[in-house]
Amino acid sequence: MKNVLKKWTSLSKNSRDGFINYGIVIVFFVIFQSLLSTKSLSNSLSGQLVPICVYVVVALALNLVVGISGELSLGQAGFMGVGAFTGVIVSTCLQSSISNGPIRLIFAIIFGAMIAGIAGLLIGIPVLRLRGDYLAIVTLAFGEIIKNILNCLYVGVDSHGLHFGMVDIPSLGMEADGITIINGPMGAVGITKISTFLAGIILVILTLVIIQNLINSRTGRAIMAIRDNRIAAEACGINVTKYKLIAFVTSAAIAGAAGALYGLNFSTIVPKKFDFNTSILILVFVVLGGIGNIRGTLIAATVLYILPELLREFADYRMLIYAIVLILVMLVTNNEKAKQLINRVLVKLKLRKAKEGE
Protein backbone atom coordinates (compact mmCIF):
# COMPACT_ATOMS: atom_id res chain seq x y z
CA MET A 1 0.00 0.00 0.00
CA LYS A 2 2.79 2.35 0.97
CA ASN A 3 4.53 1.59 -2.31
CA VAL A 4 1.40 2.39 -4.27
CA LEU A 5 1.05 5.68 -2.42
CA LYS A 6 4.66 6.56 -3.07
CA LYS A 7 4.27 5.84 -6.77
CA TRP A 8 1.08 7.90 -6.81
CA THR A 9 2.75 10.99 -5.38
CA SER A 10 5.72 10.60 -7.70
CA LEU A 11 3.43 10.86 -10.73
CA SER A 12 2.98 14.26 -12.35
CA LYS A 13 -0.26 16.08 -11.64
CA ASN A 14 -1.43 15.54 -15.20
CA SER A 15 -1.09 11.78 -15.10
CA ARG A 16 -2.72 11.65 -11.66
CA ASP A 17 -5.69 13.60 -13.02
CA GLY A 18 -5.83 11.19 -15.93
CA PHE A 19 -5.96 8.13 -13.70
CA ILE A 20 -8.67 9.71 -11.56
CA ASN A 21 -10.74 10.24 -14.72
CA TYR A 22 -10.37 6.55 -15.70
CA GLY A 23 -11.37 5.66 -12.14
CA ILE A 24 -14.53 7.78 -12.30
CA VAL A 25 -15.61 6.10 -15.53
CA ILE A 26 -14.96 2.60 -14.17
CA VAL A 27 -16.84 3.32 -10.94
CA PHE A 28 -19.73 4.72 -12.97
CA PHE A 29 -19.72 1.55 -15.08
CA VAL A 30 -19.63 -0.80 -12.06
CA ILE A 31 -22.49 1.01 -10.31
CA PHE A 32 -24.78 1.13 -13.31
CA GLN A 33 -23.92 -2.34 -14.52
CA SER A 34 -24.81 -3.80 -11.10
CA LEU A 35 -28.00 -1.75 -11.01
CA LEU A 36 -28.74 -3.01 -14.51
CA SER A 37 -28.17 -6.67 -13.64
CA THR A 38 -30.34 -6.44 -10.53
CA LYS A 39 -32.99 -4.76 -12.69
CA SER A 40 -33.31 -1.87 -10.26
CA LEU A 41 -32.98 0.73 -13.02
CA SER A 42 -36.09 2.22 -14.59
CA ASN A 43 -36.65 1.26 -18.21
CA SER A 44 -36.20 4.77 -19.48
CA LEU A 45 -32.94 5.25 -17.61
CA SER A 46 -31.42 1.94 -18.68
CA GLY A 47 -32.23 2.92 -22.25
CA GLN A 48 -30.20 6.09 -21.72
CA LEU A 49 -26.95 4.38 -20.77
CA VAL A 50 -25.54 4.06 -24.29
CA PRO A 51 -26.59 7.59 -25.31
CA ILE A 52 -24.91 8.92 -22.16
CA CYS A 53 -21.65 7.27 -23.21
CA VAL A 54 -22.12 8.62 -26.74
CA TYR A 55 -22.65 12.18 -25.58
CA VAL A 56 -19.78 11.99 -23.12
CA VAL A 57 -17.49 10.91 -25.97
CA VAL A 58 -18.76 13.57 -28.37
CA ALA A 59 -18.46 16.26 -25.70
CA LEU A 60 -14.91 15.16 -24.87
CA ALA A 61 -14.10 15.34 -28.57
CA LEU A 62 -15.58 18.83 -28.85
CA ASN A 63 -13.62 19.86 -25.78
CA LEU A 64 -10.48 19.07 -27.76
CA VAL A 65 -11.43 21.76 -30.30
CA VAL A 66 -13.10 24.30 -28.03
CA GLY A 67 -11.02 23.92 -24.88
CA ILE A 68 -7.62 22.65 -25.96
CA SER A 69 -7.36 24.21 -29.41
CA GLY A 70 -9.44 27.25 -28.42
CA GLU A 71 -11.61 27.45 -31.52
CA LEU A 72 -15.41 27.50 -31.39
CA SER A 73 -16.90 24.74 -33.54
CA LEU A 74 -20.66 24.46 -33.95
CA GLY A 75 -20.80 21.53 -36.34
CA GLN A 76 -19.98 18.63 -34.05
CA ALA A 77 -23.36 16.90 -34.57
CA GLY A 78 -22.66 16.76 -38.31
CA PHE A 79 -19.60 14.57 -37.74
CA MET A 80 -21.62 12.46 -35.35
CA GLY A 81 -24.21 12.01 -38.12
CA VAL A 82 -21.57 10.98 -40.65
CA GLY A 83 -20.32 8.38 -38.17
CA ALA A 84 -23.83 7.15 -37.39
CA PHE A 85 -24.82 6.56 -40.99
CA THR A 86 -21.45 5.08 -41.93
CA GLY A 87 -21.77 2.73 -38.97
CA VAL A 88 -25.23 1.65 -39.99
CA ILE A 89 -24.15 1.02 -43.58
CA VAL A 90 -21.07 -0.96 -42.51
CA SER A 91 -23.01 -3.00 -39.98
CA THR A 92 -25.80 -3.84 -42.45
CA CYS A 93 -23.33 -4.83 -45.17
CA LEU A 94 -21.39 -7.09 -42.83
CA GLN A 95 -24.48 -8.67 -41.32
CA SER A 96 -24.35 -11.71 -43.59
CA SER A 97 -20.60 -12.29 -43.37
CA ILE A 98 -20.01 -11.49 -39.67
CA SER A 99 -22.77 -12.70 -37.39
CA ASN A 100 -20.92 -11.71 -34.22
CA GLY A 101 -22.44 -8.41 -33.05
CA PRO A 102 -19.50 -6.92 -31.10
CA ILE A 103 -17.04 -7.55 -33.95
CA ARG A 104 -19.43 -5.90 -36.38
CA LEU A 105 -19.74 -2.99 -33.95
CA ILE A 106 -15.95 -2.60 -33.86
CA PHE A 107 -15.84 -2.45 -37.67
CA ALA A 108 -18.74 0.01 -37.70
CA ILE A 109 -17.00 2.28 -35.17
CA ILE A 110 -13.67 2.17 -36.98
CA PHE A 111 -15.28 3.02 -40.33
CA GLY A 112 -17.49 5.65 -38.71
CA ALA A 113 -14.40 7.30 -37.24
CA MET A 114 -12.50 7.09 -40.51
CA ILE A 115 -15.21 8.61 -42.70
CA ALA A 116 -15.99 11.33 -40.13
CA GLY A 117 -12.25 12.03 -39.87
CA ILE A 118 -12.04 12.43 -43.65
CA ALA A 119 -15.05 14.75 -43.54
CA GLY A 120 -13.28 16.69 -40.78
CA LEU A 121 -10.14 16.96 -42.89
CA LEU A 122 -12.03 18.15 -45.97
CA ILE A 123 -13.90 20.78 -43.96
CA GLY A 124 -10.95 21.68 -41.75
CA ILE A 125 -8.53 22.56 -44.54
CA PRO A 126 -10.52 25.57 -45.80
CA VAL A 127 -12.27 26.42 -42.53
CA LEU A 128 -9.33 26.58 -40.14
CA ARG A 129 -7.94 29.60 -41.94
CA LEU A 130 -10.67 31.53 -40.18
CA ARG A 131 -10.66 32.44 -36.51
CA GLY A 132 -13.12 33.17 -33.73
CA ASP A 133 -16.68 34.07 -34.67
CA TYR A 134 -16.10 33.46 -38.36
CA LEU A 135 -14.91 29.92 -37.72
CA ALA A 136 -17.94 29.27 -35.51
CA ILE A 137 -20.34 30.44 -38.22
CA VAL A 138 -18.66 28.43 -40.96
CA THR A 139 -18.59 25.23 -38.88
CA LEU A 140 -22.26 25.81 -38.13
CA ALA A 141 -22.93 26.04 -41.86
CA PHE A 142 -20.92 22.91 -42.62
CA GLY A 143 -22.78 21.01 -39.90
CA GLU A 144 -26.06 21.94 -41.57
CA ILE A 145 -24.68 21.00 -45.00
CA ILE A 146 -23.75 17.55 -43.71
CA LYS A 147 -27.22 17.13 -42.20
CA ASN A 148 -28.88 18.17 -45.44
CA ILE A 149 -26.72 15.82 -47.51
CA LEU A 150 -27.66 12.97 -45.17
CA ASN A 151 -31.27 14.10 -45.52
CA CYS A 152 -31.36 13.35 -49.24
CA LEU A 153 -29.05 10.37 -49.22
CA TYR A 154 -30.41 7.04 -50.40
CA VAL A 155 -28.32 3.93 -49.88
CA GLY A 156 -29.14 0.34 -50.67
CA VAL A 157 -27.22 -2.89 -50.94
CA ASP A 158 -27.73 -5.90 -53.17
CA SER A 159 -25.64 -8.71 -54.63
CA HIS A 160 -23.73 -6.17 -56.77
CA GLY A 161 -22.70 -4.15 -53.75
CA LEU A 162 -23.62 -0.72 -52.42
CA HIS A 163 -25.78 1.75 -54.35
CA PHE A 164 -25.79 5.44 -53.56
CA GLY A 165 -28.31 7.98 -54.83
CA MET A 166 -29.68 11.41 -54.09
CA VAL A 167 -33.13 11.06 -55.70
CA ASP A 168 -35.11 8.12 -54.35
CA ILE A 169 -34.91 4.38 -53.72
CA PRO A 170 -36.20 3.08 -57.13
CA SER A 171 -33.63 5.16 -58.97
CA LEU A 172 -30.86 3.25 -57.20
CA GLY A 173 -31.63 0.40 -59.67
CA MET A 174 -31.15 -2.38 -57.18
CA GLU A 175 -31.87 -6.06 -57.84
CA ALA A 176 -35.01 -7.62 -56.39
CA ASP A 177 -33.12 -8.88 -53.33
CA GLY A 178 -31.78 -5.41 -52.50
CA ILE A 179 -32.15 -3.98 -48.99
CA THR A 180 -32.73 -0.30 -48.38
CA ILE A 181 -30.28 0.94 -45.75
CA ILE A 182 -30.88 4.67 -45.76
CA ASN A 183 -34.09 6.14 -47.08
CA GLY A 184 -33.56 9.88 -47.37
CA PRO A 185 -35.32 11.96 -44.71
CA MET A 186 -36.80 8.78 -43.23
CA GLY A 187 -33.28 7.82 -42.27
CA ALA A 188 -32.18 4.29 -41.58
CA VAL A 189 -34.84 1.83 -40.50
CA GLY A 190 -34.71 -1.74 -39.29
CA ILE A 191 -31.22 -1.43 -37.81
CA THR A 192 -30.07 -4.40 -35.77
CA LYS A 193 -29.23 -2.97 -32.34
CA ILE A 194 -25.73 -4.12 -31.49
CA SER A 195 -24.50 -1.28 -29.24
CA THR A 196 -24.04 -2.19 -25.60
CA PHE A 197 -23.30 -0.28 -22.43
CA LEU A 198 -19.97 -2.08 -22.13
CA ALA A 199 -19.02 -0.97 -25.67
CA GLY A 200 -19.99 2.57 -24.72
CA ILE A 201 -17.80 2.55 -21.63
CA ILE A 202 -14.86 1.10 -23.57
CA LEU A 203 -15.26 3.89 -26.12
CA VAL A 204 -15.33 6.50 -23.32
CA ILE A 205 -12.11 5.11 -21.85
CA LEU A 206 -10.46 4.91 -25.27
CA THR A 207 -11.43 8.53 -25.90
CA LEU A 208 -10.00 9.56 -22.55
CA VAL A 209 -6.76 7.71 -23.34
CA ILE A 210 -6.47 9.38 -26.74
CA ILE A 211 -7.26 12.89 -25.53
CA GLN A 212 -5.21 12.76 -22.33
CA ASN A 213 -2.20 11.22 -24.03
CA LEU A 214 -2.53 13.78 -26.81
CA ILE A 215 -2.60 16.71 -24.40
CA ASN A 216 0.48 15.48 -22.54
CA SER A 217 2.58 15.16 -25.67
CA ARG A 218 4.51 17.59 -27.83
CA THR A 219 1.52 17.70 -30.18
CA GLY A 220 -0.86 18.67 -27.38
CA ARG A 221 1.52 21.30 -26.07
CA ALA A 222 1.82 22.75 -29.57
CA ILE A 223 -1.99 22.90 -29.89
CA MET A 224 -2.33 24.65 -26.53
CA ALA A 225 0.55 27.00 -27.34
CA ILE A 226 -1.29 28.11 -30.48
CA ARG A 227 -4.40 28.68 -28.38
CA ASP A 228 -2.53 30.83 -25.88
CA ASN A 229 -0.47 32.84 -28.34
CA ARG A 230 -0.46 32.16 -32.03
CA ILE A 231 2.36 34.54 -32.93
CA ALA A 232 4.68 33.23 -30.23
CA ALA A 233 3.90 29.65 -31.27
CA GLU A 234 4.96 30.46 -34.82
CA ALA A 235 8.12 32.09 -33.53
CA CYS A 236 8.87 28.80 -31.72
CA GLY A 237 8.72 27.01 -35.06
CA ILE A 238 5.26 25.49 -34.69
CA ASN A 239 3.16 24.95 -37.80
CA VAL A 240 -0.12 26.53 -36.75
CA THR A 241 -2.36 25.12 -39.49
CA LYS A 242 -1.04 21.58 -39.08
CA TYR A 243 -1.69 21.38 -35.36
CA LYS A 244 -5.09 23.03 -35.57
CA LEU A 245 -6.01 20.49 -38.22
CA ILE A 246 -4.79 17.62 -36.03
CA ALA A 247 -7.08 18.77 -33.21
CA PHE A 248 -10.04 19.29 -35.53
CA VAL A 249 -9.70 15.97 -37.39
CA THR A 250 -9.13 13.97 -34.18
CA SER A 251 -12.23 15.57 -32.74
CA ALA A 252 -14.28 14.77 -35.85
CA ALA A 253 -13.06 11.17 -35.93
CA ILE A 254 -13.91 10.58 -32.27
CA ALA A 255 -17.35 12.15 -32.81
CA GLY A 256 -17.78 9.77 -35.78
CA ALA A 257 -16.92 6.77 -33.63
CA ALA A 258 -19.47 7.87 -31.04
CA GLY A 259 -21.99 8.46 -33.84
CA ALA A 260 -21.58 4.88 -35.06
CA LEU A 261 -22.27 3.61 -31.54
CA TYR A 262 -25.29 5.91 -31.38
CA GLY A 263 -26.70 4.83 -34.73
CA LEU A 264 -26.49 1.15 -33.86
CA ASN A 265 -28.28 1.69 -30.54
CA PHE A 266 -31.67 2.37 -32.12
CA SER A 267 -33.81 0.56 -34.63
CA THR A 268 -34.38 3.76 -36.59
CA ILE A 269 -32.28 6.87 -36.93
CA VAL A 270 -33.17 10.05 -38.81
CA PRO A 271 -30.75 12.71 -40.15
CA LYS A 272 -32.73 15.40 -38.38
CA LYS A 273 -31.29 14.11 -35.10
CA PHE A 274 -27.89 15.57 -36.06
CA ASP A 275 -28.89 19.18 -36.50
CA PHE A 276 -27.82 22.46 -34.97
CA ASN A 277 -29.71 21.76 -31.71
CA THR A 278 -27.61 18.70 -31.00
CA SER A 279 -24.41 20.64 -31.72
CA ILE A 280 -25.47 23.28 -29.24
CA LEU A 281 -26.43 20.64 -26.67
CA ILE A 282 -22.91 19.19 -26.93
CA LEU A 283 -21.40 22.66 -26.65
CA VAL A 284 -23.47 23.26 -23.52
CA PHE A 285 -21.94 20.13 -21.95
CA VAL A 286 -18.45 21.42 -22.71
CA VAL A 287 -19.09 24.96 -21.53
CA LEU A 288 -20.82 23.88 -18.32
CA GLY A 289 -18.11 21.36 -17.54
CA GLY A 290 -15.57 24.14 -17.85
CA ILE A 291 -13.93 24.79 -21.21
CA GLY A 292 -10.78 22.69 -21.46
CA ASN A 293 -11.64 20.72 -18.33
CA ILE A 294 -11.84 17.02 -19.16
CA ARG A 295 -13.31 15.82 -15.88
CA GLY A 296 -15.84 18.66 -15.93
CA THR A 297 -16.97 17.68 -19.42
CA LEU A 298 -17.24 14.08 -18.31
CA ILE A 299 -19.48 14.93 -15.38
CA ALA A 300 -21.48 17.70 -17.05
CA ALA A 301 -22.36 15.55 -20.05
CA THR A 302 -23.52 12.68 -17.82
CA VAL A 303 -25.54 14.77 -15.39
CA LEU A 304 -27.11 17.04 -18.00
CA TYR A 305 -28.06 14.09 -20.15
CA ILE A 306 -29.73 12.22 -17.30
CA LEU A 307 -31.32 15.35 -15.81
CA PRO A 308 -34.29 15.59 -18.21
CA GLU A 309 -35.00 11.91 -17.48
CA LEU A 310 -34.93 12.48 -13.74
CA LEU A 311 -37.17 15.49 -14.13
CA ARG A 312 -39.88 13.45 -15.81
CA GLU A 313 -42.10 13.68 -12.72
CA PHE A 314 -42.33 17.42 -13.19
CA ALA A 315 -43.98 16.65 -16.51
CA ASP A 316 -44.74 19.96 -18.23
CA TYR A 317 -42.21 21.93 -16.24
CA ARG A 318 -39.37 19.59 -17.18
CA MET A 319 -37.62 21.77 -19.75
CA LEU A 320 -38.25 24.87 -17.68
CA ILE A 321 -36.42 23.37 -14.71
CA TYR A 322 -33.69 22.10 -16.99
CA ALA A 323 -33.18 25.62 -18.33
CA ILE A 324 -33.14 27.10 -14.83
CA VAL A 325 -30.54 24.56 -13.70
CA LEU A 326 -28.40 25.46 -16.71
CA ILE A 327 -28.59 29.15 -15.91
CA LEU A 328 -27.80 28.61 -12.23
CA VAL A 329 -24.80 26.41 -12.93
CA MET A 330 -23.56 28.94 -15.47
CA LEU A 331 -23.91 31.78 -12.96
CA VAL A 332 -22.14 29.92 -10.18
CA THR A 333 -19.28 28.51 -12.26
CA ASN A 334 -18.71 31.72 -14.17
CA ASN A 335 -18.78 34.05 -11.22
CA GLU A 336 -15.69 36.21 -11.71
CA LYS A 337 -15.22 36.81 -8.01
CA ALA A 338 -15.43 33.12 -7.13
CA LYS A 339 -13.02 32.34 -9.95
CA GLN A 340 -10.54 35.01 -8.87
CA LEU A 341 -10.65 33.77 -5.31
CA ILE A 342 -9.91 30.19 -6.34
CA ASN A 343 -7.15 31.32 -8.69
CA ARG A 344 -5.51 33.50 -6.06
CA VAL A 345 -5.48 30.69 -3.53
CA LEU A 346 -4.08 28.20 -6.04
CA VAL A 347 -1.29 30.50 -7.20
CA LYS A 348 -0.37 31.38 -3.66
CA LEU A 349 -0.15 27.73 -2.71
CA LYS A 350 2.04 27.01 -5.70
CA LEU A 351 4.36 29.93 -5.07
CA ARG A 352 4.66 28.91 -1.44
CA LYS A 353 5.51 25.37 -2.46
CA ALA A 354 8.14 26.72 -4.84
CA LYS A 355 9.63 28.84 -2.08
CA GLU A 356 9.73 25.90 0.31
CA GLY A 357 11.56 24.02 -2.45
CA GLU A 358 14.30 26.62 -2.32
Partner: protein, 281 residues
Protein backbone atom coordinates in the same frame (compact mmCIF):
# COMPACT_ATOMS: atom_id res chain seq x y z
CA UNK B 1 14.73 65.71 -44.18
CA UNK B 2 17.05 68.29 -45.65
CA UNK B 3 19.41 67.54 -48.54
CA UNK B 4 22.43 68.23 -46.39
CA UNK B 5 21.42 65.54 -43.91
CA UNK B 6 20.95 62.96 -46.64
CA UNK B 7 24.45 63.50 -47.96
CA UNK B 8 26.02 62.78 -44.61
CA UNK B 9 24.41 59.31 -44.62
CA UNK B 10 26.78 58.20 -47.34
CA UNK B 11 29.69 58.90 -45.07
CA UNK B 12 28.55 56.40 -42.48
CA UNK B 13 31.00 53.52 -42.58
CA UNK B 14 29.24 50.34 -43.59
CA UNK B 15 32.33 48.19 -43.81
CA UNK B 16 32.20 44.89 -41.98
CA UNK B 17 33.53 44.98 -38.46
CA UNK B 18 33.52 41.98 -36.19
CA UNK B 19 34.79 41.21 -32.69
CA UNK B 20 38.33 39.91 -32.79
CA UNK B 21 37.43 36.36 -31.80
CA UNK B 22 34.95 36.12 -34.66
CA UNK B 23 37.43 37.14 -37.34
CA UNK B 24 37.81 34.57 -40.08
CA UNK B 25 34.57 32.86 -39.16
CA UNK B 26 31.47 32.85 -41.26
CA UNK B 27 29.23 35.71 -40.10
CA UNK B 28 25.96 34.46 -38.63
CA UNK B 29 23.99 37.31 -40.13
CA UNK B 30 24.60 39.41 -43.22
CA UNK B 31 21.92 41.97 -43.92
CA UNK B 32 22.31 44.02 -47.07
CA UNK B 33 20.19 46.92 -48.34
CA UNK B 34 17.21 45.66 -46.34
CA UNK B 35 14.06 47.73 -46.72
CA UNK B 36 10.30 47.51 -46.42
CA UNK B 37 7.48 49.81 -47.51
CA UNK B 38 4.01 49.79 -46.04
CA UNK B 39 2.01 51.33 -48.85
CA UNK B 40 3.71 54.65 -49.47
CA UNK B 41 5.53 54.68 -46.14
CA UNK B 42 9.10 53.49 -46.03
CA UNK B 43 9.48 51.94 -42.60
CA UNK B 44 13.02 50.66 -43.06
CA UNK B 45 15.47 51.53 -45.79
CA UNK B 46 19.04 50.57 -46.64
CA UNK B 47 19.70 48.63 -43.46
CA UNK B 48 23.07 46.90 -43.53
CA UNK B 49 24.53 44.82 -40.74
CA UNK B 50 26.96 41.96 -40.34
CA UNK B 51 27.20 39.97 -37.15
CA UNK B 52 29.86 37.52 -36.02
CA UNK B 53 28.73 34.13 -34.70
CA UNK B 54 29.26 35.12 -31.06
CA UNK B 55 28.72 38.86 -31.28
CA UNK B 56 26.35 40.87 -29.11
CA UNK B 57 24.87 43.73 -31.08
CA UNK B 58 22.61 46.48 -29.85
CA UNK B 59 19.93 48.04 -32.00
CA UNK B 60 18.99 51.44 -30.67
CA UNK B 61 17.10 54.46 -31.81
CA UNK B 62 14.25 56.76 -30.83
CA UNK B 63 10.68 55.44 -30.68
CA UNK B 64 9.28 54.59 -34.09
CA UNK B 65 12.71 54.31 -35.68
CA UNK B 66 11.92 50.84 -37.06
CA UNK B 67 13.80 48.62 -34.61
CA UNK B 68 11.03 46.10 -34.04
CA UNK B 69 10.23 46.22 -37.75
CA UNK B 70 13.76 44.96 -38.39
CA UNK B 71 13.17 42.08 -35.96
CA UNK B 72 9.92 41.33 -37.78
CA UNK B 73 11.79 41.37 -41.08
CA UNK B 74 14.51 39.04 -39.80
CA UNK B 75 11.90 36.60 -38.45
CA UNK B 76 9.76 36.95 -41.60
CA UNK B 77 6.70 38.26 -39.85
CA UNK B 78 7.03 40.77 -42.70
CA UNK B 79 8.59 39.99 -46.06
CA UNK B 80 11.12 42.57 -47.14
CA UNK B 81 10.47 44.86 -50.10
CA UNK B 82 14.17 45.20 -50.88
CA UNK B 83 17.49 43.72 -49.90
CA UNK B 84 18.62 40.38 -48.58
CA UNK B 85 19.18 38.59 -45.30
CA UNK B 86 21.76 35.82 -45.15
CA UNK B 87 21.65 33.56 -42.13
CA UNK B 88 24.84 31.55 -41.81
CA UNK B 89 25.46 32.27 -45.48
CA UNK B 90 22.01 31.04 -46.56
CA UNK B 91 19.47 33.41 -48.07
CA UNK B 92 16.28 33.47 -46.02
CA UNK B 93 14.26 34.88 -48.91
CA UNK B 94 10.86 33.18 -49.27
CA UNK B 95 11.01 31.46 -45.90
CA UNK B 96 8.22 31.88 -43.36
CA UNK B 97 8.47 32.46 -39.61
CA UNK B 98 8.55 28.74 -38.83
CA UNK B 99 11.29 27.97 -41.36
CA UNK B 100 13.38 30.88 -40.15
CA UNK B 101 13.09 29.62 -36.60
CA UNK B 102 14.18 26.16 -37.69
CA UNK B 103 17.05 27.76 -39.60
CA UNK B 104 18.24 29.36 -36.37
CA UNK B 105 16.64 32.67 -35.44
CA UNK B 106 14.69 32.88 -32.18
CA UNK B 107 13.18 35.96 -30.63
CA UNK B 108 11.41 37.47 -27.68
CA UNK B 109 8.67 40.08 -27.89
CA UNK B 110 8.41 43.67 -26.75
CA UNK B 111 4.92 43.00 -25.39
CA UNK B 112 5.41 39.69 -23.64
CA UNK B 113 3.91 36.76 -25.48
CA UNK B 114 3.96 33.69 -23.28
CA UNK B 115 1.62 30.71 -23.31
CA UNK B 116 -0.18 31.97 -20.23
CA UNK B 117 -2.17 28.89 -19.29
CA UNK B 118 0.71 26.47 -19.77
CA UNK B 119 3.18 25.86 -16.96
CA UNK B 120 6.63 27.42 -17.05
CA UNK B 121 8.14 24.05 -17.90
CA UNK B 122 5.65 23.45 -20.72
CA UNK B 123 6.44 26.88 -22.16
CA UNK B 124 10.06 25.82 -22.47
CA UNK B 125 9.04 22.44 -23.85
CA UNK B 126 7.09 24.19 -26.61
CA UNK B 127 10.39 25.82 -27.51
CA UNK B 128 11.95 22.35 -27.62
CA UNK B 129 9.14 21.17 -29.92
CA UNK B 130 11.23 20.72 -33.06
CA UNK B 131 14.00 18.96 -31.17
CA UNK B 132 11.81 16.17 -29.79
CA UNK B 133 11.86 13.05 -31.87
CA UNK B 134 8.57 11.24 -31.62
CA UNK B 135 5.32 11.28 -33.51
CA UNK B 136 1.70 11.37 -32.47
CA UNK B 137 1.11 7.57 -32.56
CA UNK B 138 3.93 6.88 -30.11
CA UNK B 139 2.50 9.56 -27.82
CA UNK B 140 -1.01 8.07 -27.98
CA UNK B 141 0.30 4.57 -27.26
CA UNK B 142 2.92 5.83 -24.77
CA UNK B 143 5.67 3.88 -26.51
CA UNK B 144 9.20 3.86 -25.01
CA UNK B 145 10.34 6.58 -27.41
CA UNK B 146 7.69 8.86 -25.91
CA UNK B 147 8.98 8.37 -22.36
CA UNK B 148 12.61 8.67 -23.43
CA UNK B 149 12.08 11.88 -25.36
CA UNK B 150 9.82 13.42 -22.70
CA UNK B 151 12.40 12.68 -20.04
CA UNK B 152 15.12 14.23 -22.18
CA UNK B 153 12.93 17.28 -22.77
CA UNK B 154 12.19 17.60 -19.06
CA UNK B 155 15.89 17.54 -18.17
CA UNK B 156 16.73 19.98 -20.93
CA UNK B 157 13.94 22.35 -19.88
CA UNK B 158 15.17 22.27 -16.29
CA UNK B 159 18.75 22.93 -17.38
CA UNK B 160 17.60 25.93 -19.38
CA UNK B 161 15.45 27.26 -16.53
CA UNK B 162 18.52 27.05 -14.28
CA UNK B 163 20.15 29.88 -16.23
CA UNK B 164 17.74 32.25 -14.55
CA UNK B 165 17.24 30.20 -11.36
CA UNK B 166 13.68 29.49 -12.36
CA UNK B 167 13.63 25.70 -12.00
CA UNK B 168 11.52 25.86 -8.82
CA UNK B 169 8.82 27.77 -10.72
CA UNK B 170 8.49 24.97 -13.26
CA UNK B 171 4.88 24.09 -12.40
CA UNK B 172 3.52 27.62 -12.04
CA UNK B 173 1.29 28.85 -14.88
CA UNK B 174 3.36 31.26 -16.97
CA UNK B 175 0.63 33.90 -16.90
CA UNK B 176 0.85 34.26 -13.12
CA UNK B 177 4.60 34.94 -13.01
CA UNK B 178 5.84 38.38 -11.97
CA UNK B 179 6.71 40.67 -14.86
CA UNK B 180 10.49 40.27 -14.72
CA UNK B 181 10.21 36.49 -14.55
CA UNK B 182 7.95 36.52 -17.61
CA UNK B 183 10.62 38.38 -19.57
CA UNK B 184 13.24 35.87 -18.45
CA UNK B 185 11.00 32.94 -19.36
CA UNK B 186 10.62 34.33 -22.86
CA UNK B 187 14.39 34.28 -23.24
CA UNK B 188 14.57 30.70 -21.96
CA UNK B 189 11.85 29.63 -24.37
CA UNK B 190 13.65 31.27 -27.27
CA UNK B 191 16.90 29.55 -26.25
CA UNK B 192 15.11 26.20 -26.20
CA UNK B 193 14.67 26.37 -29.98
CA UNK B 194 18.49 26.18 -30.22
CA UNK B 195 19.04 29.35 -32.21
CA UNK B 196 22.23 30.61 -33.79
CA UNK B 197 20.95 34.14 -33.44
CA UNK B 198 18.84 35.33 -30.55
CA UNK B 199 16.78 38.49 -30.95
CA UNK B 200 15.80 40.22 -27.70
CA UNK B 201 13.18 42.95 -27.99
CA UNK B 202 13.58 45.25 -24.97
CA UNK B 203 14.56 42.50 -22.52
CA UNK B 204 15.02 44.95 -19.65
CA UNK B 205 11.75 46.83 -20.11
CA UNK B 206 9.94 47.08 -16.80
CA UNK B 207 12.82 45.64 -14.79
CA UNK B 208 14.29 47.37 -11.78
CA UNK B 209 18.02 48.28 -11.70
CA UNK B 210 19.11 45.17 -9.82
CA UNK B 211 17.13 42.91 -12.17
CA UNK B 212 18.66 44.74 -15.12
CA UNK B 213 22.15 44.24 -13.73
CA UNK B 214 21.45 40.54 -13.36
CA UNK B 215 20.08 40.42 -16.89
CA UNK B 216 23.29 42.00 -18.22
CA UNK B 217 25.36 39.26 -16.64
CA UNK B 218 23.02 36.63 -17.96
CA UNK B 219 23.10 37.91 -21.52
CA UNK B 220 26.87 37.62 -21.51
CA UNK B 221 26.62 34.23 -19.84
CA UNK B 222 24.17 32.97 -22.45
CA UNK B 223 26.51 34.05 -25.22
CA UNK B 224 29.45 32.30 -23.56
CA UNK B 225 27.61 29.07 -22.76
CA UNK B 226 25.69 28.63 -25.99
CA UNK B 227 28.19 30.37 -28.32
CA UNK B 228 25.46 32.22 -30.16
CA UNK B 229 25.01 35.72 -31.50
CA UNK B 230 22.58 38.04 -29.73
CA UNK B 231 20.94 41.15 -31.11
CA UNK B 232 19.01 43.28 -28.68
CA UNK B 233 16.75 46.29 -28.85
CA UNK B 234 16.99 48.28 -25.67
CA UNK B 235 16.37 51.74 -24.34
CA UNK B 236 18.43 51.21 -21.21
CA UNK B 237 21.69 52.80 -22.41
CA UNK B 238 23.62 51.49 -19.44
CA UNK B 239 22.80 47.94 -20.48
CA UNK B 240 23.48 48.57 -24.15
CA UNK B 241 26.84 50.26 -23.59
CA UNK B 242 28.01 47.59 -21.15
CA UNK B 243 26.90 44.45 -22.91
CA UNK B 244 27.06 45.19 -26.62
CA UNK B 245 30.21 44.94 -28.72
CA UNK B 246 28.65 46.63 -31.69
CA UNK B 247 25.80 49.10 -31.86
CA UNK B 248 23.61 50.07 -34.76
CA UNK B 249 21.59 53.26 -34.46
CA UNK B 250 18.39 53.73 -36.40
CA UNK B 251 16.42 56.87 -37.02
CA UNK B 252 13.39 57.18 -39.30
CA UNK B 253 14.02 53.68 -40.65
CA UNK B 254 17.59 54.46 -41.67
CA UNK B 255 20.87 53.38 -40.24
CA UNK B 256 22.56 56.55 -39.05
CA UNK B 257 25.55 55.10 -37.28
CA UNK B 258 27.32 51.85 -36.57
CA UNK B 259 30.23 51.19 -34.31
CA UNK B 260 31.56 50.36 -30.89
CA UNK B 261 29.84 51.79 -27.81
CA UNK B 262 32.42 54.56 -27.39
CA UNK B 263 32.18 55.57 -31.05
CA UNK B 264 28.41 55.73 -30.80
CA UNK B 265 28.49 57.78 -27.64
CA UNK B 266 30.51 60.46 -29.41
CA UNK B 267 28.71 60.35 -32.74
CA UNK B 268 27.22 63.76 -33.56
CA UNK B 269 24.32 62.38 -35.54
CA UNK B 270 23.31 59.95 -32.80
CA UNK B 271 23.28 62.71 -30.23
CA UNK B 272 21.22 64.78 -32.60
CA UNK B 273 18.72 61.97 -33.17
CA UNK B 274 18.20 61.55 -29.45
CA UNK B 275 18.52 65.09 -28.15
CA UNK B 276 17.83 67.25 -31.18
CA UNK B 277 19.99 69.73 -33.12
CA UNK B 278 22.21 72.20 -31.35
CA UNK B 279 20.78 75.66 -31.80
CA UNK B 280 23.17 77.82 -33.75
CA UNK B 281 23.72 81.12 -32.07
Amino acid sequence: MSEAKKSTLVDVPSKVRLPERDLGKMPVLEVAHLGIDFGGLTAVDEFNLTMGPTEITGLIGPNGAGKTTIFNLLTKVYQQTRGSVLLDGKDTHGMNTIQVNKAGIARTFQNIRLFDKLSVEDNVKVGLHNHMNYHLPSALLRLPTYWKEEKKAHEKAMDLLKIFDMENLANVPAGSLPYGAQRRLEIVRALATEPKLLLLDEPAAGMNPSETAELMENIAKIRDTFQIAIMLIEHDMNLVMNVCEGIAVLNFGKLIAKGTPSEIQNNEEVIEAYLGKKKEV
